[in-house]
Symmetry: none
Subunit: 132 residues, 4 copies
Amino acid sequence: MNITLEQAEKIIAEAKSKSTALDTKMNIAVVDAGANLVAFARMDGAWLGSLDIAIKKAKTARFFDMNTGAIGELSQPGGSLYNIEHSNNGLITFPGGVLIKDAEGTIIGAIGVSGSSVENDHAVAEAGASAI
Amino acid sequence: MNITLEQAEKIIAEAKSKSTALDTKMNIAVVDAGANLVAFARMDGAWLGSLDIAIKKAKTARFFDMNTGAIGELSQPGGSLYNIEHSNNGLITFPGGVLIKDAEGTIIGAIGVSGSSVENDHAVAEAGASAI
Amino acid sequence: MNITLEQAEKIIAEAKSKSTALDTKMNIAVVDAGANLVAFARMDGAWLGSLDIAIKKAKTARFFDMNTGAIGELSQPGGSLYNIEHSNNGLITFPGGVLIKDAEGTIIGAIGVSGSSVENDHAVAEAGASAI
Amino acid sequence: MNITLEQAEKIIAEAKSKSTALDTKMNIAVVDAGANLVAFARMDGAWLGSLDIAIKKAKTARFFDMNTGAIGELSQPGGSLYNIEHSNNGLITFPGGVLIKDAEGTIIGAIGVSGSSVENDHAVAEAGASAI
């Protein structure tokens, strides 16, 4: 199973809505089960540098099938996955990347959000992932 | 002046509609005046390899403020811009990248489309660019 | 549907057998439906430079759902896809990349072979793809 | 002396067997004395992001002729090799990369394993390296 564009667009719409509710401006990326981009939106005035971060967060979540923040806890100095970020042409391992699952719980893709605090980024990603 | 996300989404919707009318499956990318991605959509079943090409076409059009096909005529062996594709982390210089202008004719971004013949790619990009 | 490792290993075994029959030494790569590597083998004495080519051929075939040689016919100087090789971190568009389909004809991956003439590369790739 | 494909395949078979015994799903890469890929296998359901990590672990071990974890102890903040991971298009310096030696103790290649905890990754790499 793989995410459809219709599902990805519903997810982005919900993420935009949550971002507006939080008074933030986000870059929002959705990748499929193969970690390839399906849909993307950069809200007006969102940080340019967050464009790449949003895409890398979505890919990172799918690469390891967990939220990005969970990887970041292990990649700290002295941690078991220190500097894992150098793999896969660059990972982003702080919060804002969340898995997308279908009704049966199968992973069908991931969403990555960047543009505000990591707490807000994660909240917007969660809101998006919950849209389907 | 720069393209807004709302405009980019209108452009993508129109491009998707044209793509469906042509019975094709496209990757569609919209970049702003700074050649940075604003919105993207990969239609279900569209070629994976066209993801990167669609984005590169949009960037290429804005990099030189002309349709991608016009650059490709100059980059042939013996041409004045031979192998310009090696610059900017890779250009795509065949048709499918088209400038987006506002009502006054100011360039505010570009659209890149990939997934079918270059004729269809260009037609879908033109339809998208004409949406605003 | 996606290729399994068991299927990929059967394909590589068949490709190695064909390569030996042709008195060649090949690099053989198999990617899944997401164009990600599943299995790889470099036969003793095979060209080192063919390692990357074999992987790129497999990816290229899946990126556009056709044999690599078909793309190469369109990417020549003056062709409609001239210099498409600059996309996707480098394509290889001469023969040796072949799609892998299941019994129902669904594309589940691709094989890329490099190490001899393009005729031999293609013959080995075909032999591998026919193993399942 | 250099590793043969037959040896590399025996190593991968042993590593898969150990991985199954540990109830894990691994990406397994074997490089030769020149740090170039010889054989690779991604077990069904293994993390996509571990593909690149397994290959980088194998290369890293051979690049410096020591297990990857030993390098990671020196690359921490304040350490003598701080951020060495930036070299060679990206190193991975946590456990899971192990040297492969022949009967005389000569280094003939390296194995890299990724897909579980670093303890499991290392155990599977050790099992593989001990197969010859």
